[in-house]
Symmetry: C3
Subunit: 391 residues, 3 copies
């Protein structure tokens, strides 16, 4: 961003991010055949107000069905830095779990985040396809916090080097979590080791375009007791279910031949207490909006485990990339399970600051995909061409 001095002690930094997509669908399962979309439109204000005190605020625009063009505030936190090893962050922020849950949307490689991130409570505990542009049917738990895609709370973050080539960072936090229970707190913890160059900041990138030489490994867990009640239907006695997410991830950035390899893989297990019920709100209404039980998101269709892997190779101004992810649900007939494969290429006008990405994704669901529920289509093919700017 652009720095502006306030006085000798204080300064602000003004930044922005704009991601503009054209999405072409080749699937009867999606209503729109071609869609123009602002995937992210952000204005960012960072400020240092004291040797130890800084803040960060960011507004977001994301077009969505019926959502219009409202600007939302998605980041708003104060950081009190006692030490590199002890930084207290208070406010609305990314709750750390899987590596890509704290990966900056300004540092993505394969068009967007891996879909597994959306199994995190912060992103609604659901399955997505078409470069995260479509929610898959029978998978939307309806869970979520008062502020989507972030959480409100307190994080202790620390980062430093154990030796010249061994670096550690950790995140421990407590948050408001699910809006369906205000009595329990959400807790998450993540630890990450890097060998070679460090990745010292709160946020990771998915590729450094050859700018680092590092191997990273991360482990996280994320839990909240009694996130919501589930019931067979609105009238049955409902039971409280716990949320527990465990993740592991690897990252590699390595010079190779005339270019550099960026590779990443992760595993995730989501436990919501299982069962053939769906989550209900305090009025007994099903939270995903679908009360047609055979085709709604039962708890066992939401939960399960999965993995993703992606790799890109930067050479000159180009970076071709591939990605794959797979999710297996705990439900009968694997309903809620899906596989997705992505392939594409990025033209680097100026690294992450300005580039153009083209990609194709095929998402295959075990169950039939929306709009053709009864024995219909189970595949979404999506081609995306997008411009990406961040500063």
């Amino acid at each position: 961003g652009a720095k502006v001095e306030i006085n000798d002690d204080a300064s602000l930094d003004l930044g922005f991010r704009l991601q503009s997509q054209m999405i072409q669908y080749d699937s009867d399962a999606v209503a729109d055949s071609r869609d123009y979309k602002i995937r992210r439109g952000r204005l960012r204000l960072g400020a240092t107000v004291h040797e130890k005190v800084s803040l960060f605020m960011q507004t977001e625009f994301a077009e969505g069905p019926g959502a219009g063009g409202d600007a939302r505030v998605i980041d708003a936190f104060i950081k009190y830095k006692l030490d590199d090893w002890a930084q207290v962050i208070a406010g609305e922020n990314m709750a750390p779990s899987l590596r890509q849950s704290t990966t900056s949307s300004g540092g993505l490689m394969a068009i967007d985040r891996t879909g597994l991130v959306y199994k995190d409570l912060t992103w609604g505990a659901r399955a997505v396809g078409a470069f995260t542009n479509q929610v898959l049917p029978e998978t939307d738990s309806g869970l979520g916090g008062d502020v989507g895609v972030r959480d409100m709370g307190l994080t202790l973050f620390g980062s430093g080097s154990l030796s010249d080539s061994t670096h550690l960072k950790y995140y421990v936090g407590t948050y408001d979590g699910a809006s369906t229970n205000n009595d329990s707190e959400r807790y998450t913890a993540r630890v990450q080791m890097n060998f070679g160059d460090p990745e010292p900041g709160y946020y990771n990138l998915t590729t450094y375009h050859g700018g680092k030489e590092t191997f990273g490994i991360g482990l996280a867990m994320d839990a909240q007791d009694e996130v919501a009640e589930a019931a067979i239907d609105g009238n049955s006695p409902a039971e409280w279910h716990d949320y527990e997410l465990m993740t592991a991830d690897l990252f590699l950035e390595q010079p190779m031949g005339p270019g550099a390899l960026s590779a990443e893989a992760g595993w995730m297990d989501l436990d919501l207490g299982g069962g053939n019920e769906h989550f209900v709100n305090s009025d007994g209404a099903v939270m995903d909006g679908e009360d047609d039980r055979p085709y709604s998101a039962t708890v066992d269709r939401v939960q399960g485990s999965g993995y993703y892997a992606q790799a890109g190779y930067t050479v000159g101004d180009w970076q071709p990339w591939v990605a794959h992810e797979s999710w297996g649900s705990d439900a009968d007939q694997d309903r809620g399970s899906y596989d997705a494969t992505r392939v594409g290429i990025t033209y680097l006008i100026d690294g992450h600051n300005a580039n153009i990405k083209a990609g194709f994704e095929q998402t295959k669901a075990e169950n039939a995909i929306e709009e053709n529920k009864h024995g219909g289509e189970d595949t979404i093919n999506a081609f995306v061409l997008g411009g990406y700017i961040t500063y």
Copy 2:
């Protein structure tokens, strides 16, 4: 706006616009006798991030009935400039049609845009009065996109000179268009010639306060197949209707005596397929919110043709101006037709950057105006005093 450097290649430009109005109505047809209003409150961020790449984001606040004070993102696009003659604009932007559809709201003369602009799909295909502050009854088609007052899409824009005194610019675009049909695309095209000085940018102004000497002529068309279904009532079989808008416009800025004349005229024809039905959504509900058919916006009351003309004379710090527009609907008894006459004066504190405008508009509708449907009032008189700032 204010420029701030990011680095040698990149810089941002921060701008703002604030238009604060006091409106006094003299009509029983309007519920409020006096209304204070922020007509536009905007924060703008432009950035150049590379020789060929720039972006533009703008937030808007417009108070409206029940709309509260939400900030909305109304512009968000990336521009890739291959050449002056070939600039690709991707994102949320003004879809070009009538000259005033791409006139900057920071460069208005007669308080606001001519009402004809609201017949454009982007602005809801409806009729407005009282300096665009009131929607006229039986005229609101209910049509519109996911993002109001702009559209999401891709525009190819080019501008240049054919000789010293002959200048051309063109816009060709495709957009998401009406939210009621995601299968068809909206297409618009506009060509504009200027003789004398050029008006080279994407946006036009309504007056240059004597700063240019030019004559401009523009032609445009704007179309989308099957924008929405229309039916006599919610239960009848509904039929898809197409949207087609054609416009022509003239502009003159010319020194004259001790001052300068700014004059403009335009013509528009809107074809929606006609008929005595109203547009309905997928649930069969009438989209303009009025299901009382004798007084709702039937298709033939929305469509029709019209013209506007306006002129102002800048002398010293003052610019008196007059404007007239007329719309004739295709319905029986001319229901949906209206005439509006405006007269006023602007005190130029600092050109378009800061000025005060006072104006009076009389809007006369063929049919009775809301709140007095049955044989009541058919005229709205409105006096506006406003402060206008833009940078």
Copy 3:
């Protein structure tokens, strides 16, 4: 904020405010036991565009039940300064009444404003507790304007010195007022005298941390005819009620021993025409959302009179403070009445620019508090720890 020049005549000033709270409740009357919250997240743009003309725009994020994270525009006005004694302010702004109604939220001492401010029409004419984080039951009139926490209108403001040690400022304004009646206007007036140092600006602070030596006295009134209709139930004939608020306040900032005292007191009387009815909208529905009449906000439970007093003592980097307020309703059994006592301490990292506040409030209501209506809890204990940054 940070100043950026636009040109020789114009410049803008970019500022921000972030208040991040952790609230621990010790009361069954509040659903959430611990809540993380962005109390205020603001981006501010001020601009001087001419010797006499300036503007001010501010966006706000306040998390609330169901409100999500929308950014709202809460200030948007143009100031035309003829003279220090005659400044015309047009747009969305704080309507002056009680001292704390025009106190900057960046200059608070006891965590937040005194609750009495919420009896003002601008803040909804209701009673609040837990450092203004909870609305008390049976007290929410449902009144309010189209834009909450501010009003749209025109204010004449003047400020100057009558002698070296005697300073006067006045505010006279007219505003849109209650959204339930568009025919009447709201009028407010406030006059304030300061002896010693002046407080010349539109906004007051609650403490200057020893930076001033002054005694201030203020008187205000605030009225709108026929703000809304009230009825026993939705079917009864409704009657229009007037709104009338009168306030008086004192302020003292005085060096004392090794530090400085900041003290403030105020009195308020609210008259809404009385009676055992509740306010209803044009559909006859009760406006506070509670149609269970024995436990709803009847007019006489909303109206009444009250006072507040608060004092703090700044010594070095610390400022301990205490506050008390009391409201007596005009209803039977004092329903709607409450008392609140607050005690806390502020650690001044950098005055109002950056500090940490910790405070405890006990709010006691005469009637039983929500969630335990029938003979339940009548006390809310709340502990707040918060970070406060403003520039």
